[in-house]
Structure formats: structure tokens, C-alpha cells
């Protein structure tokens, strides 16, 4: 009577500490330039080396420019951080996928692409969106820099076991509804703190119908409801995706792995601490109107009013609308926008660019819109070119940039100017997330495409 989560967690506990957290063994550690340098410094101060460099991979993604990657990074601080990662990897024998190399990309995009991410694993990274990898039936979650240092030193971390939540979405999804819309719908239902203290398992027929790309988008966003992570039991869709990838098991090893992976599902009588059930038919394309990912509504709806709120809830809500320049009762459709961003670990995979390109095919980018189309990795970039999507994009007035986290968190030059509205396929609409004063509207690549060609918030279903 174990959940999927229990099965993987229990098989990775090295030791239970009395009155404390578990010592959890980590199968795969992913690192990037922003949250690793202080951990490397700490390690060196203790005179330690990385214990299992072969279970660690590195790539610079948060800081990197998305044009002219063949040139040296202009921003001195960014360049220094990227060079520090490269140097630290060389010192400790860690494989480094540098800027411009075949393996480069956003850390949560390249792991699955290379077949490093596999069912049943424990995966951590100093980045909250590590939850992405849960799409494969892995326990994957974001950690702080102290914990990065723990994994370097011991390949383990100390973690209290979270509670378990089941979120089921059943039935057929409506036309124009994507995994991103499911994610924004669920977060709007349970709020940005609804999942706190829990690890989520997503299940139900609507979830099973999603591709691996869609599942990654959904699990990626699980952190936005406050959960440590999200996961989906592996099935034939998962096995087909993993098979044949560079680091996937081969030959007899594949057969052994597959037999184990098929046991990775919650038992029929497994007990969850919290359960939510939704109908796929109730979900429409979503868009956010406020300054946290829980402030999302169906695109045909109006900005809710704050009548039912009191005290600091009401003040926080009104502060958020003021930042966005919106009023209660406003209709979202028809509002002017300035920027469109397609990319990030949430929606930077090939399926996202196919969806965007199919929509804009034969149409033209609106004159008032600046669009940043940023592939999640070099492999995605190559695939976009190979499938002829780049010609479609260019004919419609869009330019393809180079891989990186880009405008999702605006650590590089891809910043949305103050006061401007950005329809973004990324994961957070916090104040200033895409640049100081920037106003972010989270949506799917399809809804972003509709806004990009009309210049205003548009229901993509009108064109489908």
C-alpha cells in the first residue's frame, strides 16, 4: 500500500536520523552557474572533493546571452560566474556542457534529452524547477546552495519526508487546452501555497494523455503551488521517450530497468494525505492577471473582484492589481501587450515551438509586439531548424534566438522594460521577475502565439 513517491523515497534512504530528517541518496545532481559557486567554495574550505563527479552534470543557463553565443559574454559578472563554473568542473572532474557545445541548454531540458533523467531516480539541482524531471516518475526537487554542497560532499542530503498529495485530472481536454493550462488551472484552484509540505503525484486520464513534453511542463509548475515537486507514474509514453537516448540503459540493462520501472506506480490502496480531483472538461486556456502564478483565470473570464477578501489578503490582492495596472472586473481579452516570450524550462521544448509555429504559420507578428523565441537547448534549436519551423517563424516575422533561461528571470540582457506587458510561457509572474517593473502574463505557447499575431490578449480557440 505504497505510493509511487514512497517506493522511490524508501529505496533511497541511507539512514533515518533520530528526531530528524532522512539521509537521502541522490542518483543525479544537476548544477548551473548561479547556485553552485558558493558550494564549491565551501567544499574547498573543508578540503573536500566532489564525491561522485560522474553523477553530476553542469551547464550554464541562467546568465547566458541568447544572441552571439560564439562571442565572449559582455556582462563581466555573468561571464565571471560562467567561467567559474567551467573552472570548478575541471577541478572536480564534472562533465560541463558549455555555451555553444552540442549538449548546452537549460539544465532541466538537457537532462531528459540525453536520457540522464530516468524513472525511479532521485534528482536534485539548486533550482526550484528541478520538479520538471518528476514527469518521468522520478523524485526530483530543488535545493539550496548548502544542500548542493552536501551532495557534492556526500552524494546525499538531509530531508524530512514530505506529505503526499494526489491531483487527478480526468476526461478529455478541450480544444486549445495544453499542459500549461492544466498547471495554471490547478494552481489557481489550490493557490501558491496549497501544496506546501507535500510532494504531488499527478494522475488521471487527462494526465496520461499528455506527451512527455506536456508532463514536464506540468511537473515543472508543481513548485508554483508550493509543493516540493510533482511526479507522474511512468508508462509506455515514458519508456518510448527514454529508449535509445544517449544515457538510457541498453540491451539487457534496458530489459532489467524496464521491468523495475513498470513497478513504479502507486498501489491501489495507497494512502495520500491530500487529494484533489478535477475534470479536464472544466479547463479552458488560462492566463494570469496578477503577481503570483495562483492568480490565473480562464482567458474568457474577467479579473475577479476582491469583495470576498479581508485584511491583508485584500491589501495584497489590491497591491498586485495596482502593479499590473488592471482593475477588478476588467476583461482580459483585448488588452494590449508589448512582449511575447516563448521558452524556459517550462515551455522551451520542441513541442512548444511546433505549437507556436503551427499557429503563426501564414500570419504576421503584430507591429506592437517584440517577441523573443528562445529554444531550451541546442538540441531543441537544431530540431526547430531540421523540421523547417524556423522558416515558418521567419516568414511570420519572428526570429529564433539561442538557448538559455533568458527572459524567464531576466538575469541576462533579455529584460522586459518597466511597465510593459509580457505574455510569457515561463513559470513566474512575480513583481520584477522579467525585469524591474515588468508585468508578466503567464500562458501557454498557443495563447502566446495568439497574442503575438494580434498584439492583444486573444483566445487562441478563435483561430483553431
Amino acid at each position: 500500500m505504497k505510493t509511487l513517491f514512497d517506493k522511490i523515497w524508501d529505496s533511497h534512504v541511507v539512514k533515518e536520523v533520530e528526531g530528524g530528517p532522512s539521509v537521502l541518496y541522490i542518483d543525479q545532481h544537476l548544477i548551473h552557474e548561479v547556485t553552485s559557486p558558493v558550494a564549491f567554495l565551501g567544499l574547498e574550505k573543508r578540503g573536500l572533493k566532489v564525491l561522485r563527479p560522474e553523477k553530476t552534470i553542469a551547464t550554464p543557463d541562467h546568465n547566458v546571452p541568447t544572441i552571439n553565443q560564439h562571442l565572449s559574454i559582455i556582462d563581466e559578472l555573468s561571464r565571471n560566474q560562467v567561467e567559474m563554473l567551467k573552472k570548478n568542473c575541471a577541478t572536480h572532474g564534472i562533465v560541463y556542457h558549455g555555451l555553444g557545445s552540442e549538449g548546452h541548454g537549460v539544465v532541466h531540458i538537457i537532462g531528459p534529452e540525453m536520457g540522464i533523467t530516468q524513472p525511479g531516480m532521485t534528482i536534485v539541482c539548486g533550482d526550484s524547477h528541478t520538479s520538471t524531471h518528476g514527469a518521468f516518475g522520478a523524485i526530483a526537487f530543488g535545493i539550496g546552495t548548502s544542500e548542493v554542497e552536501m551532495v557534492f560532499a556526500s552524494q546525499c542530503i538531509m530531508q524530512p519526508k514530505p506529505k503526499k498529495m494526489l491531483i487527478s485530472v480526468n476526461g478529455k481536454l478541450n480544444k486549445g487546452v495544453t499542459a500549461k493550462d492544466i498547471a495554471l488551472y490547478v494552481i489557481a484552484q489550490i493557490s501558491t501555497s496549497g501544496g506546501t509540505g507535500h510532494f504531488v503525484e499527478f494522475a488521471g486520464s487527462a494526465i496520461e494523455s499528455l506527451s512527455m513534453e506536456g508532463r514536464m511542463t506540468l511537473c515543472n509548475m508543481s513548485i508554483e503551488c508550493g509543493a516540493r515537486g510533482g511526479m507522474i507514474a511512468p508508462d509506455q509514453t515514458t519508456f518510448d521517450y527514454v529508449k535509445g537516448r544517449q544515457f538510457a540503459p541498453k540491451g539487457e540493462d534496458w530489459d532489467t530497468a524496464l521491468a523495475y520501472w513498470k513497478t513504479l506506480k502507486s498501489d491501489a490502496d495507497a494512502v495520500f494525505d491530500t487529494i484533489y480531483e478535477y475534470e479536464g472538461a472544466d479547463i479552458e486556456p488560462m492566463i494570469t492577471f496578477g503577481t503570483n502564478p495562483g492568480m490565473g483565470i480562464g482567458i474568457s473570464e474577467n479579473v475577479p473582484n476582491s469583495d470576498k477578501l479581508t485584511g491583508s489578503d485584500k491589501l495584497t490582492y489590491e497591491k498586485s492589481l495596482k502593479y499590473m495596472g488592471y482593475n477588478q472586473g476588467d476583461k482580459m481579452v483585448g488588452k494590449q501587450i508589448d512582449y511575447v516570450f516563448v521558452g524556459s524550462c517550462t515551455n522551451g521544448r520542441i513541442e512548444d515551438f511546433r505549437s507556436f509555429a503551427q499557429f503563426v504559420k501564414g500570419k504576421k507578428k503584430a507591429d506592437n509586439v517584440t517577441a523573443w523565441i528562445v529554444p531550451g537547448s541546442r538540441a531543441v534549436e537544431k530540431q526547430i531548424i531540421a523540421e523547417g519551423l524556423v522558416e515558418i517563424l521567419e516568414a511570420a516575422g519572428f526570429e529564433l534566438r539561442q538557448p538559455g533561461c533568458s527572459a524567464c528571470l531576466a538575469m541576462n540582457d533579455d529584460k522586459i522594460p518597466e511597465g510593459k506587458y509580457s505574455v510569457s510561457t515561463s513559470n513566474r509572474n512575480f513583481e520584477g521577475r522579467q525585469g524591474p517593473g515588468a508585468r508578466t502574463l503567464l500562458a501557454s505557447p498557443l495563447t502566446a502565439a495568439a497574442a503575438a499575431v494580434t498584439g492583444v490578449i486573444t483566445d487562441p480557440r478563435e483561430f483553431l
Binding site: V23, V34, V38, C156, K319
Partner: protein
């Protein structure tokens, strides 16, 4: 990372009665480019604290000299968002040792504990009492007693118990971190790997 041992603290508090204070507000991403852990306190709440021309915004509590102390009191769901430990570093570097809220995001709570900051969870009602007490007298002291897991509004004597994992409590009171412990488990970890 070594930090000061934590036992008992008596101090006034700085109020920040805003909900869902996310890590992008605590320390915006553009200030995460350092490769060493220093100076983050200068950019704590940067975009709420300073305007575009880097002038202090007068009505933000950190800019009001009437507020002081080593305790920060925030609205519910404090620390949501990113895993950046820079958020905890900025709070510690600025001089806070305790953050009080009715609810913390998981990763932030862990990062705080790993850096010698005590996150104290109180009931929503008690949180309102704390804000009211500060409003009445900005110098009013609060006592944080980690040993007895008790938070007290000194003026009224009202207090509330708070939870903390016993292992983490031991770490905080002795200024220890997890890495020494994990490194000492080397053989057990190696044995686990061969299973």
C-alpha cells in the same frame, strides 16, 4: 557554512505585513551574480527598498528608522518561489536572525535553517497580535526562546509555542551544519551504493 549559535534572542521587530513575499522580492535575480557569499544584505528587498535611481523609498519599513531589530515579521507564505539560498543569505547579512510568519515556503524554510536563521511559525491570529504590538510601539521587544520553543510579546506577556525539528534545533543551538554529519557517514554511504 558556519554561523553563530542560536539560543535566546530579545529584540524589537521589523514588520512587513505583505503576503506571499517571494524570493524575487527578497533578492531579485539580477543580484545573484556573485561567486562569493558577501554583500547580499545591501540588496535585500532591493526593488521595494530603492527606486529606479537607487534612492530609498521612504515608506518601506526597512527605510524607516523607527523600526529596528533582529526579527523580521512577514505575512503568510513567506519565501515562496525560487530555491535561491541568496534570499536567506541576504536576510542574515542584513542582520536578521529570526523570521516570523504564519506560513513559510518549504525550500526557504530549509535554507533559513541551514544558515542560522530561525523561521518561527505562529498562528494567523498571533501574527496579527505581533503586527498590532509593533504598530502600538515600534520599540516593543519580543523574546525568542529556542530551547523552550516559545515566542513572547514581552509587553503583554502573551506567548506562543513553535515547532522545530529536534535535529535542526540541535544544529542551531550548537552552530553545526549537516555537511560534517554527512561526511562522517562516508562508510555507510559507500555501503549503500553497493546494495
Amino acid at each position: 557554512m558556519a554561523y553563530d549559535k542560536f539560543t535566546t534572542l530579545t529584540s524589537p521587530a521589523v514588520p512587513l505585513p505583505i503576503e506571499n513575499i517571494d524570493t524575487d522580492q527578497i533578492i531579485p535575480a539580477r543580484f545573484l551574480k556573485a561567486v562569493e557569499r558577501k554583500g547580499f544584505g545591501d540588496n535585500l528587498f532591493r526593488d521595494w527598498r530603492y527606486d529606479k535611481s537607487s534612492q530609498p523609498i521612504a515608506d518601506f519599513p526597512l527605510n524607516q528608522s523607527k523600526y529596528s531589530g533582529k526579527i523580521l515579521v512577514g505575512g503568510k507564505n513567506f519565501g515562496s518561489g525560487s530555491s535561491r539560498e541568496h534570499a536567506a543569505w541576504a536576510i542574515y547579512d542584513y542582520g536578521f536572525r529570526v523570521v516570523v510568519s504564519s506560513f513559510f515556503a518549504d525550500i526557504f524554510q530549509g535554507n533559513a535553517l541551514n544558515n542560522g536563521i530561525l523561521p518561527v511559525v505562529v498562528s494567523p491570529e498571533f501574527l496579527e497580535k505581533i503586527f498590532t504590538a509593533i504598530e502600538a510601539d515600534q520599540d516593543t521587544p519580543f523574546e525568542v526562546d529556542l530551547q523552550n520553543q516559545k515566542f513572547t510579546i514581552c509587553a503583554s506577556g502573551e506567548s506562543i509555542g513553535f515547532d522545530i525539528n529536534p535535529y535542526k534545533k540541535h544544529c542551531l543551538t550548537h552552530g553545526l551544519d549537516d555537511i560534517d554529519y554527512l561526511v562522517s557517514m562516508k562508510e555507510e554511504i559507500a555501503a549503500f551504493e553497493t546494495k
